[in-house]
Amino acid sequence: MFKTTTLALGSMLTATTAMAATDISWWHGMGGRNGEVINEISQQFNDAQDQCNLTPISRGTYEEALSSGIAAFRSGEQPNILQVFDAGAATIISADGATIAAEDLILDAGEEFDRENFIPGVRGFYADSDGKFIGMPFNSSAPIMYYNTKAFEEAGVEPPKTWEEFEEIAPALKEAGYLPMTASQLTWMMVENFKSRNNQQFATNNNGYDAIEGTEIIVTDENQVMMFEKLKEWADADLFGFYGAGWADNLRPFEEGESAMWIGSSGSFGGLQQSMSDDFSAVFMPYWDSIEGAGTQSFIGGAALFAMAGHPEEENTCTAQFFTFLTSPEVQVYYHKNTGYVPVTEAAYQMAKDEGYYDEQPVAEVGIQQLQLEGGEWTSGYRLGFYPQIRTVMEREFNRIFSDEVEVGEAFEIIETEGNKLLERFGRTASN
C-alpha cells in the first residue's frame, strides 16, 4: 500500500515538473452546486490535455465577480477568463481593449468557430451589432414558470400560456387554498423578458446595440405599465405574492407548497429537485394575448465568459482551447444535466435529445424550447450601460409600488428618468 502511494506520488511529481503547463485562471460568480460543477469541468479540461492548466476561482456573486475583475484589470492582475452576467454585458463589451473578442481569440488560435452552431436565442446577446461574438455564452438560462402539479389537480385547471389565461384560472387556485403565483427578480421577469416575450422595444438605438450615446430606455409605454398595474391588482386580490427583491424570499412559498406557480430561472431546476417536496413541472413564461405579435422567444439570461486582454499568446491559446472544449457537445450536455442551464449549441441540444434526457426530465427542456421560439425585432437582447444600477432603481420602485407608496405609472416615470440619467452618464465615461 505504502509502496504504491509513494510510486504514484513520485510519478505525479515527475509529471508536473516535466510538463511545465501554461497556467490560466478563471474567475466566476457561481456558488453551491453550480460552483462545484465549474470545478468539475475545469478538472475535465485539465485531464483532457497537458499543455494548459486551468484554475477556477470563485469571486462571490455575479456582481462581485465583475467588480473584482475590473479592479484586477486596473492593477494589471486580471484573470484570463472572467464570467460576466447579462446585466454587466454593456460594461465589459463597451470597454474596448479590456477583452479580446471570443471569436477572434478562437480563430487566432487556429481553432474552428461557427456562429451558426449556436442556438438562435444565444447568438445575439453577447455579440456586437455585426453579430461577432465578444463573450462566449456559457451558463445560459431562460425565465420559465414552474408549477405545483398537485395544486393544479386540486383546482382542476391547466397551467396558463398567457396572462389572460392566468386571470381565468388564478381564482380557482386561490379557492383551492393556494397563493396562485410568486415570481423572483421582477426586473428580469416582468421588464426585460416582458419586453422579449411580447416583442416590445426596450431602448432606443436598436435596444442600445447601435450606439452608447443617446440611448434611452423605454418603460413608460402603456403595455409595460399595464403589466405592473395587473401585478399590483393581482397582489391586492391575493392572486400574486410579492416578497421584495430577494430571490429566495419569493421562491420559498413555492418550495413549501404554498404557492401554485413560481416564475424562476431554468437554471433553478437542479436546486428545485432537491428542495421541492411536491411534484412540479414547468411551462413557458406567459405573454399577453392582447399584445400584437407577442409570444416570441425570451432573452438569454445567465452569464458569458470573456477573455481578458493583456496576457501572453500561449495563455490566450489555452483560453481559446478551453472555449472550444466548453462548447463541445459532451461538456455542454454534462453542464446542462448537472445545473439546469440550457445547452448553447444545436449539437449539444440534439445530443441531450438523442440520449432521451428530456423523456426522463421534460422540465429541463422548457427553457431551451422557449429560447427557440420564433424571434422578433426586439428579442435578441439589450445593451445598456450602468444596467446593474438601473436594475437597482427598478427594484426600489417595485418595492414602493407593492407597499402602496407610488402609483405604477409614476414609478415607471421615475425609472425612466433615473435610468436615462445613468445611461447618459455611462455614455460620458465610455466615450473618452
Partner: protein
Amino acid sequence: MRGLVKAGAATPQKRVQFDRPLTPWLFLAPQLAVVVIFFYWPSVQAVVSSFYIEDPFGFGSTFVGMENYTNALTDTRYQATAAFTAFFCVVVTALSLGIGLLLAVKADKVIRGAGPYKTVLISVYAIAPPVAGLIGMMIFDQHIGPMTALFGFFGRDLQVGVNYWDTTIAVTTISVWKQIPYNFIFFLSGLQTVPVSVREAALIDARSGWRRFRDIVLPLLAPTAFFLLIINITYAMFDTFAIFDVVVKDKPANNPMTLVYKVYLDGFKGNDIGGSSAQSVILMLVVAALTVVQFRFLERRVHYG
C-alpha cells in the same frame, strides 16, 4: 539610555528629549507608514477621482470639476439616505447607550450569581456583525421569522425587505442588540470605579436612589459616557455596514441604507468611481466636522477626575 536625557525638574509633566533629531522619526516611522499607506494615500486618491468621470476599466477619465458633488448633494435619494443615516445614528446610539447603562447599573447591584449574569450579557459582543445580521434575519424572516409571527399576533403584517419602515425596525433592533454588550462592559467598569466612600457619603445626603444616581454616579461616569458616545456614533455610521448588507441581501431596493453603504453600492457594484469617490469625500468631511463638534462642545462638560 544614551539617547534619552531626563527633562528638568521644573516641568511637571513627563517629557523625554532626544539628542539626535532623527531618532524620534525612526520610532514614529512604522506607525506613520501605516497611516500614510492605509489612510492618507487612499484619501488623496478618493479626493482626486471625485473630480473625474471615469470608465470602470480605467481607460480614460474626464475632469468634471464639482459635478460629482453637486450631483450627489442635489439628488433627493442621496438626501434621503443622509437623513436616514442621521436618524439611525441617533436612535441606535441612544438606545444602545441607554439600555447598556440600565443593564450595567442593575448588574452592579447583583451580588449573588453576578459572574454568570455578566457573562451572558457580555457574550453577545463576541458575535461578528455579519453573523449578528444573519441571526437577526432569521428572526425577522418574512416566512419563518418568530418576530414576524409576533408582530402578526398583534395584527401587524411585518414585511422586512419590502416595507421601508419594517426593514428599519429590523436593522435598528439588530444593531442595538449587537452594541449593548460593548456599552455594558464600559459602563460596568465605570461604575465600579465610583469610590465606596463617595457612595456612602451620598447615602447620608439623599434617600432617593435616583437622585444619588443622577447627582453623584452619572457625573462620575461622564468620561466613560463621552467615550462611548463617540464610539457608538462611529459604530452606527460605519460598523453596521455588514448588518445592512445581510439584511437587504445584496438587493437594496427600497430598503433604508446608510451613507457608507451607498458609497459601496455606487462604487463597487455600480462601478461609478467618480460619483462614489465624491460621496466618500463628503462622508469624510461629515465625520471630521462631527469629531470637532464633539471634542469642542461636549468634552468641555466632561470632568475627568
